[in-house]
Symmetry: C2
Subunit: 624 residues, 2 copies
């Protein structure tokens, strides 16, 4: 309403933010994502948010609270508490080393991002003064004044008097943001854990995180046991919709699965599950709804609207998740009925919401989410690409586990070189190798642009199988299964359908945003592939737009990386919410161009060869 | 920080408030307690907070939101929405009739107070637009935008998609403050109920309230079944402390008791218990802790600190209270270990926190709470007065129920006139009559200042009973029990102990505050007496300070009246919290003068007769 904006510059980084007069330096720092410590959340209790202000006339007068935390000499040097000091004029603020939040690198396959270690869950050890007839403050108010928060979980309140008396008034308070969710006897401040969970349609992945140190303690995963009720989302939704007990059965399956992974991790790494205070999960919208026990029925019915988009928190005990019963199960926001919080986590992990230019993010799975854009706005869609790239619906397909062929090279003489996950004898083919095979067969003219086997080619590895022509990747004698591992005509059809769904999604988003291949500065490919997909081959089959190889980056399971970042950093959690304002969802089912785009994307690489100039050469001179 | 305070005057009442520049008119109105409608809580959604601002230069410019809700002519006449309009200069605001909250009179024995009907629980009927492929807003966000709140109960969220689809997008939203706690099919906005509960040590009282109309639907009460584990607080605390199962047993007893009263009320008045959305209870600190399942052990151990003072909310289903499972069980703040939320409710009901002068509030029960002061500050204490005035520990004592003698007059010839509750044959004596009897016996010289029977008096009604002298109030033949109803020497001792405890509490508070009888402008006597205690007799026995009769007001169960007001008015709930800042607790157990004051208060009316000038005459010329 009132007044012009002031400029605050944070040194030594030089980050700049525009604020209204009267805002505290701490708030200003938070807006920029500058990592400034504040253990009490800005209540003048902890004294950790020390900053140096050279021009004291540009800020409010020093307060009694500050005098309590700062020495006379420090005050003379310009030290202030950021939570107590309000900005009155343009000002430059120095953040000394001791006030900076530790920075943590989040690594995933092929890239890393740095986040400030500032988790929502934190612990504070306090030695309280004992009550007396001259100090009759109630237990909660005594604790609340010491840690500077005013909310407490009812279940914690119930046991508070006993814990305080029995621990002789020395306790560790567990805080979730501004709320007390636990009080433990003595000093347990070193044990603070969180669990990042990616609930995929086919796989559940958990990373156990040490929130005090910002480190990954261990990783566990299991097949999503809901698969017994259908391998794709639509089958699960149909099952959940037919009877309310079915929804609870699906919910229980995934909760039990998480608890199993959790117990395994806790046992293996010697972590007390009662010291895990947050489970943050990401997943597609259907997985999100089912996990929370929300009827997913309407996700499968036009117009496919979810029950809720904004993040929610549920108590662990209400979901029977075996972390601390007063711990929090939290979510990231959803984007739409078929673009879930996994896509938000992908965006956070790759940082495309801060990307200066146009990034294209493709998270390949049974459903593939595609995001196009950058800091100035993003557009996204979902395509039903099917599970071919996860190894399903492929005759000898398998997940990227031990024995899966993950890379394939075919020579001019149609001889095959392959490598398997962990080097053991081949048992089947996973998604990355399927892409290689189709690209290589096309490269050598073994299949044509329509994906048909060229009947004119004679080769030992080409034969007529039970259901048409097939190409032998590994001879029975080389394998761990005792039969030839082949790629069939039907397999190639599955790949074509999958890649056409994904490419047409990309193409429609590019059209909506008015960008061409030239305007794309970066392609991020995410997904549960074993390790890596060959970007050249992805282009050859027409899975992704034809951009120079150096712009393509394979980022693996970016969703879990994003979830981990959010567990570790409140700032990232806020970014997750702001992403929703930056992104628009485009419903492919309602797009009049979709069918046409899809049909055109079925050939290899595409009906319009001019869209793939780097592949054009191969067509003119196939590598026979 | 910035700028001087501005004056806002609300017409037609002329209420005045000082605010910082930039505050909305709605916020300013709330600070004064001016009853201004706002069904969306200030989000510009409902358009109900219409006010007239004559000087448009004194406020912020009109917004698009206002243009949506106000006609052109209205805007020309100076109409504005209070939630959208910010105060920039001193200004006078007219609240038109349609924007005023309905005022409700809360009646209790002998006095009434007026509150604005603005309950925490409210219902809003909304007919939502259906989602479509061009409007894919999720269910919750669709609802949230319509009612202007952003929080939803997880249990409600889980059923939201089904309810919205099945009710064809026309639903009634139940709001508790800024949170959605229910969504019901169709229009149920007329059915909004709340329950005010006073959990006394000996009696549980429930008032079923229609929150839409501000009316009392019905009243029910029962003996507190915890009495099987001791009739006083200390016995109950001892029982609860000895085993954690005992605490839960006591908790269950009172919860079952409330559920029983509730079921009776719902049956009798045809109210669906699922349409009761809030239970607000008051009680002493021990009752509060036990009802909430908080260990009360430390309330009985010096320094008698409670677990928490500030109000808390618990979900009804977490306490197994049979109102709507997502309904809220709420509390008022506590003052100290022995001054509970019942005292806060007493203060609210009598309004002494707004009293200009010194009021003395005495809530007589097994524990008696005493508050002295007014708007400029209050002091309070608790005294263990015992249950004599509730009819216990008295040979023929009983509660003020059918057949209880409630008034007694003794003539010069020691003949007795009495009246009973509902006029039936006497079965015993209740607290108000016990006071009468002791006062009358003293008045006629039958007992002396030490409370001893005067052995020199001969009368038919005076006789030596099994345990010393006793006075016959009703002959066996007149009674409904078939034996003489008497008052014994021991009974008089019990009354002396009780009144000495109460008077010494009053006296110590008066001393702490530096006020004498002359400075007391009003005495409020509250408690579960049948109807009324005779203030003259209360003075004669030395129960209350000697102030002119017209300053003494009997207010009955003020605690439940206060609870009802809070159910009906958010403003009163805020006042309850601000009372805590106005009041200081004085621990009698730690007061060095207590024993002396208590000893001096044992005689009738007091060892220092000059404190009771109006009784002095009686001593010189007893009414023999």
């Amino acid at each position: 309403m009132v007044g012009k904006l002031l400029t605050v510059v944070f040194e030594p980084d030089g980050r700049r933010v525009f604020v209204s007069a009267g805002m505290t330096i701490l708030e200003a720092a938070r807006r920029t994502g500058v990592g400034l410590r504040s253990e009490c959340g800005g209540r003048g209790v902890c004294g950790k948010c020390r900053v140096i202000v050279r021009d004291q006339h540009a800020v409010s007068d020093i307060t009694d609270v500050e005098r309590k935390h700062l020495s006379k000499v420090e005050i003379e040097c310009g030290y202030r508490l950021a939570c107590q000091t309000r900005v009155l004029k343009d000002v430059s603020i120095m953040i000394p080393l001791e006030s900076r939040l530790e920075s943590i690198k989040i690594l995933t396959s092929g890239f890393e991002r740095i986040v400030n270690l500032d988790p929502m869950v934190r612990k504070v050890y306090v030695a309280l003064s004992k009550p007396s007839l001259t100090d009759v403050k109630p237990d909660f108010e005594r604790l609340s004044d010491a840690v500077g928060v005013v909310e407490i979980d009812y279940d914690v309140l119930k046991i508070l008097p006993n814990i305080l008396h029995e621990s002789n008034w020395s306790v560790t308070v567990v805080l979730y943001g501004d709320r007390i969710i636990g009080v433990e006897s003595g000093d347990t401040a070193n044990e603070v854990y969180g669990l990042a969970v990616d609930i995929g349609t086919s796989k559940v992945v958990c990373h156990l995180m040490d929130l005090k140190r910002g480190e990954t303690v261990g990783v566990g995963s299991m097949e999503n046991p809901q698969v017994i009720h259908g391998e794709d989302i639509i089958s699960r939704i149909a099952y959940a919709s037919s009877d309310s007990r079915n929804l609870h059965e699906l919910q229980k399956l995934v909760i039990d699965c998480i608890n199993n992974i959790l117990n395994g991790l806790c046992g293996k790494y010697g972590v007390d599950s009662g010291r895990i205070y947050e489970l943050l999960f990401v997943g597609n919208t259907a997985m999100h709804h089912i996990f929370l026990g929300i009827q997913p029925k309407y996700l499968a019915l036009s117009p496919y609207t979810p029950a809720i988009k904004r993040p929610i928190n549920v108590k662990a005990k209400d979901l029977s998740i075996n972390i601390n019963p007063n711990g929090i199960v939290s979510t990231l926001p959803l984007i739409a009925g078929f673009v879930g919080s996994d896509a938000v986590a992908d965006i956070l992990a790759t940082g495309i919401h801060e990307f200066d230019g146009n990034a294209l993010l493709i998270d390949i799975g049974t459903n593939t989410e595609i995001v196009l854009g950058g800091r100035d706005g993003m557009i996204c869609c979902s395509c039903a690409s099917g599970p071919a790239f996860e190894g399903a619906h492929i005759k000898h397909g398998m997940k990227a586990v031990s024995g899966a062929i993950e890379r394939v090279k075919i020579s001019r003489g149609l001889e095959v070189e392959y490598s398997t996950v962990d080097g053991s004898k081949p048992r089947g083919i996973c998604g990355s190798a399927i892409i290689d095979v189709v690209a290589e067969l096309f490269r050598h003219g073994v299949i044509d642009r329509q994906g048909r086997f060229n009947k004119n080619i004679e080769a030992q590895r080409l034969r007529r199988g039970e259901s048409g022509i097939e190409f032998i990747i590994a001879w029975a004698s080389e394998t761990g299964v005792g039969y030839d591992i082949t790629v069939t005509q039907k397999d190639i059809r599955e790949v074509q359908l999958a890649k056409a769904a994904i490419y047409s999604g990309c193409s429609i988003l590019m059209g909506k945003k008015g960008v061409t291949e030239k305007d794309i500065d970066r392609i991020f490919i995410a997904g549960a592939f074993g390790n890596y997909i060959n970007p050249e081959n992805a282009k050859v089959i027409g899975l992704i737009p034809d951009v120079p190889i150096e712009k393509i980056m394979f980022v693996g399971n970016a969703a879990i990386a994003g979830a981990k970042m959010v567990l570790l950093s409140k700032d990232l959690r806020m970014q997750a919410e702001s992403i929703l304002k930056l992104i628009n969802y485009h419903e492919l089912a309602a797009d009049p161009n979709f069918n046409n785009e899809f049909m055109n994307a079925l050939p290899i690489p595409h009906a319009d060869i001019n869209r793939f100039p780097s592949v054009k050469e191969l067509i003119i001179h196939p590598n026979i």
